[in-house]
C-alpha cells in the first residue's frame, strides 16, 4: 500500500513537472539545431525577447526601490495611523487576489484611448496602453506585493533598536539605512528581486490585455509563444518556451541559494 502511494506521488511529479520540460526540450529540437536557431533568430522572436528583457529590468528596478520603501514606511513609519497602516498593508496583497487579466483591464479602462487620462497622455505624445509603458505598468501591478512581502517580515524581526542605537550614536537616516538596516535586509531584497524577475518574465494575462499583442511592437516572449501555438508553429513556440524555462530554472537555483543565505543572516 505504502509502495503504491510512493509510486503514485512520483508519477504525479513526473507527469506534472518533468514531462512538460522534456516535451519542450524535444519539441524545440524537433527540427534539429537549425530549427531551434531559426525559431529564435526570427525578427519577431528577437524583438519579443528584447521587450521581455526591458520589462524585466525596468519592473525589477522600480519594484525593488518602491517595494523596499513601502516596507520601511509600513513597518517603521510613525506618522501614519495604525489603522491606515493596517489598511495599506492589506491593500498591498490586492494583486495576489485579483486575476492579472483584470489588473490589465483596469489599466486599459483608466489609461486606454477612450479614457480622459489616456487621451491626455496621447496628446502629449506619450502612449501608455498598447505600448511599452502600459506593459511595464501592468507587470508592476502584478509583481508589486512580492518585494514588500519579502522585506516587511525581516524588518519586523530585526526591530527598530539597532536603528535607534545608530541614531543615539549620531547617525542620520541615510547612513543608518546603508550601514545598519541594509545588511540585515539584503538577502530578503535579493529573494524579492528573484521572485520579481521570475514573475515578470512569465507574466502573460495582464500584459496580453494591455499590449494588444502587436507583433514586432508590443509582443513579449510569453505572448509570442501563445501566438506561435495559435498558428500551429509548435517547434518555434517550444524554442522560445525553452529559453524562458531555462531562465526560470536558473532563477530557481538562485532563489534556493538566496533563501539559504537569508536564513543564515
Amino acid at each position: 500500500m505504502r509502495r503504491l502511494w510512493i509510486t503514485l506521488t512520483y508519477a504525479v511529479f513526473l507527469v506534472l513537472l518533468i514531462a512538460p520540460l522534456v516535451k519542450i526540450f524535444t519539441g524545440s529540437w524537433g527540427d534539429g539545431w537549425s530549427g531551434f536557431a531559426d525559431a529564435l533568430t526570427r525578427p519577431e522572436s528577437l524583438h519579443a525577447l528584447m521587450m521581455t528583457g526591458i520589462i524585466v529590468v525596468v519592473v525589477t528596478l522600480l519594484n525593488t526601490l518602491f517595494g523596499v520603501m513601502l516596507a520601511l514606511y509600513l513597518v517603521r513609519g510613525t506618522w501614519l495611523g495604525n489603522r491606515l497602516k493596517a489598511f495599506m498593508n492589506s491593500i498591498v496583497d490586492l494583486p495576489f487576489a485579483v486575476s492579472p487579466v483584470i489588473g490589465g483591464l483596469m489599466i486599459v479602462l483608466i489609461l486606454g484611448p477612450s479614457s480622459a487620462l489616456g487621451t491626455f497622455f496621447e496628446e502629449i505624445g506619450f502612449k501608455v496602453v498598447y505600448a511599452l509603458p502600459g506593459m511595464i505598468l501592468a507587470t508592476l501591478f502584478v509583481t508589486f506585493p512580492l518585494m514588500v512581502r519579502e522585506v516587511m517580515p525581516v524588518l519586523q524581526e530585526i526591530g527598530a533598536q539597532q536603528e535607534e542605537a545608530a541614531s543615539t550614536l549620531g547617525a542620520y537616516s541615510w547612513y543608518t539605512f546603508w550601514k545598519v538596516t541594509w545588511p540585515s535586509i539584503r538577502w530578503g531584497v535579493i529573494y524579492g528581486v528573484v521572485l520579481t524577475v521570475a514573475r515578470s518574465l512569465g507574466e502573460f494575462g495582464a500584459v496580453l490585455v494591455v499590449s494588444g499583442n502587436i507583433m514586432n511592437k508590443t509582443q513579449t516572449a510569453t505572448t509570442l509563444v501563445y501566438q506561435d501555438v495559435e498558428n500551429f508553429n509548435v517547434s518555434a513556440a517550444s524554442s522560445v518556451a525553452l529559453v524562458l524555462a531555462a531562465f526560470s530554472v536558473g532563477l530557481l537555483l538562485l532563489m534556493e541559494w538566496a533563501k539559504k543565505r537569508k536564513e543564515v543572516h
Partner: protein, 354 residues
C-alpha cells in the same frame, strides 16, 4: 551634564505613561530610575534620549532646552536592554560606529576603540561578532559603543536584565566603578531594588508615570514619603489593626490607619534576651523558612502575622514555639498622611501601668 526636567508628560493614546515628572540631576551623578514594570521609567529615559517626543514639558541639558533636538545631537550614549548591537559588525566596528559617523581620523578611531576595549576588558575580542560573545561581554560592548563618542550623559535601559544572576552582581560593581572613574552623568532604569540600592548614588522611584520620591538609597529606606515607596523598597508586612499591637495603641486615634512593618523592625527571642522585656509581646512561631544565610520566621501575634529574620547563630526555633516579639517601630499611613511611629514602651524604660 546638569539635567533638568520640568512638567514632563507622555501620553500613548489614552494611556498616560508619564505624568507631570520634575527632577534635577547634578553633573557626575549616577541615578537609578526604579519602579514596577510598565511604570513609565523607560519612557522617561527614551524622552531624555530623544527617541520619544514628550507630550508636554521641558527637558533641559546644561541650561539649554533640548526638546526639539534629535537624538543625534543630544550628546548622549544609550545602552539598550537587549544591547541592540549591530549584529553584522565585529566588536571593533560596533565600538567604532559613533566615531566613524563623526568622520574621525582612522588612527584616532583606532586609538579610542582600543583604549575602550582595554577599559571594558574586551581586548582580543575585537574581531568577534556579537553572536560569538556571552551576555556579559555583549553588555560591555554596548557600554563601550555608547561611550566611544564621549557623550555627556549615559542612559542605560535595564542594563542587567538579560544577564544571569551570578554575573549580574559582578557587572553591577564593575559598572559602578567604571562610571565613577569616568565621572559621566548616568541614569539607569531598573525594576530590581537591590540593583538600584547597590549601584545608584540617588534613586528615583517611579510608579504609574509619577515620580514618587527622589533621594539617596538610605534616605528612601529610612524615610519613605509615600506608602508605595515604603512597600516597594525593602520587605514589609501590612498590618490592618496596628492598635492591637503592644506599644502602638495610640494608632487607634487615627481611624482607618494601617501599618507597614519591616522584618528588620522586629526582634524575636526568649523573654530574658531582651533589655526591655516589658515592651515585648508574646507570639507563636508559625513557619520557618531556610533562606540560605538566615531563617525567615513567620510569627503570629494574636491574629496578626508578622515576618522577620533570625540569625543562624541563634537557637533554632520550632514551629509552634512560644516566643517574645519586640516591634521597634511601624510605618503608619492612611489616605492623607504617612509617618513613622516608634514603640512607645521602648521609649519609656519605666512604663507606668495602672
Amino acid at each position: 551634564m546638569h539635567i533638568e526636567v520640568r512638567g514632563l508628560n507622555k501620553q500613548f493614546g489614552d494611556f498616560q505613561a508619564v505624568n507631570d515628572v520634575n527632577f534635577d540631576i547634578a553633573k557626575g551623578q549616577l541615578i537609578g530610575l526604579l519602579g514596577p514594570s510598565g511604570g513609565g521609567k523607560t519612557s522617561i529615559l527614551r524622552m531624555l534620549a530623544g527617541l520619544e517626543t514628550p507630550t508636554s514639558g521641558d527637558i533641559i541639558f546644561h541650561g539649554k532646552r533640548v526638546n526639539d533636538l534629535p537624538p543625534q545631537e543630544r550628546g548622549i550614549g544609550f545602552v539598550f536592554q537587549n544591547y541592540a548591537l549591530f549584529k553584522h559588525m565585529t566588536v571593533y566596528d560596533n565600538v567604532a560606529f559613533g566615531l566613524k559617523v563623526k568622520k574621525a581620523a582612522k588612527d584616532v578611531i583606532r586609538e579610542r576603540v582600543m583604549s575602550l576595549l582595554e577599559l571594558t576588558g574586551l581586548k582580543g575580542f575585537e574581531h568577534r561578532y556579537p553572536h560569538q560573545l556571552s551576555g556579559g561581554q555583549r553588555q560591555r560592548v554596548a557600554f563601550a559603543r555608547a561611550l566611544a563618542p564621549q557623550p555627556q550623559l549615559l542612559l542605560l535601559d535595564e542594563p542587567f536584565a538579560a544577564i544571569d544572576a551570578k554575573i549580574r552582581t559582578e557587572l553591577r560593581t564593575w559598572l559602578k566603578e567604571m562610571i565613577e572613574r569616568l565621572g559621566i552623568t548616568s541614569i539607569f532604569v531598573t525594576h530590581d531594588q537591590d540593583e538600584a540600592i547597590e549601584v545608584a548614588d540617588e534613586i528615583m522611584i517611579i510608579n504609574k508615570g509619577r515620580l514618587e520620591q527622589k533621594g539617596t538609597p538610605w534616605d528612601i529606606y529610612k524615610s519613605p514619603q509615600t506608602q508605595f515607596v515604603a512597600s516597594f523598597i525593602g520587605e514589609s508586612t501590612i498590618v490592618d489593626q496596628v492598635e492591637l499591637l503592644k506599644g502602638f495603641e495610640e494608632a487607634a486615634s487615627w481611624p482607618g490607619t494601617k501599618a507597614l512593618i519591616r522584618p528588620e523592625y522586629i526582634e524575636i527571642g526568649k523573654r530574658n534576651e531582651f533589655r526591655l522585656p516589658s515592651a515585648t509581646v508574646p507570639g507563636i512561631v508559625k513557619h520557618l523558612h531556610f533562606r540560605g544565610s538566615e531563617w525567615m520566621v513567620e510569627v503570629m501575634v494574636g491574629d496578626i502575622k508578622l515576618i522577620t529574620y533570625r540569625s543562624l547563630e541563634k537557637d533554632v526555633l520550632q514551629p509552634g514555639q512560644e516566643i517574645s516579639v519586640l516591634i521597634h517601630r511601624a510605618y503608619l499611613f492612611n489616605d492623607n498622611d504617612t509617618w513613622i511611629m516608634e514603640n512607645k514602651l521602648k521609649e519609656d524604660p519605666m512604663p507606668m501601668h495602672i
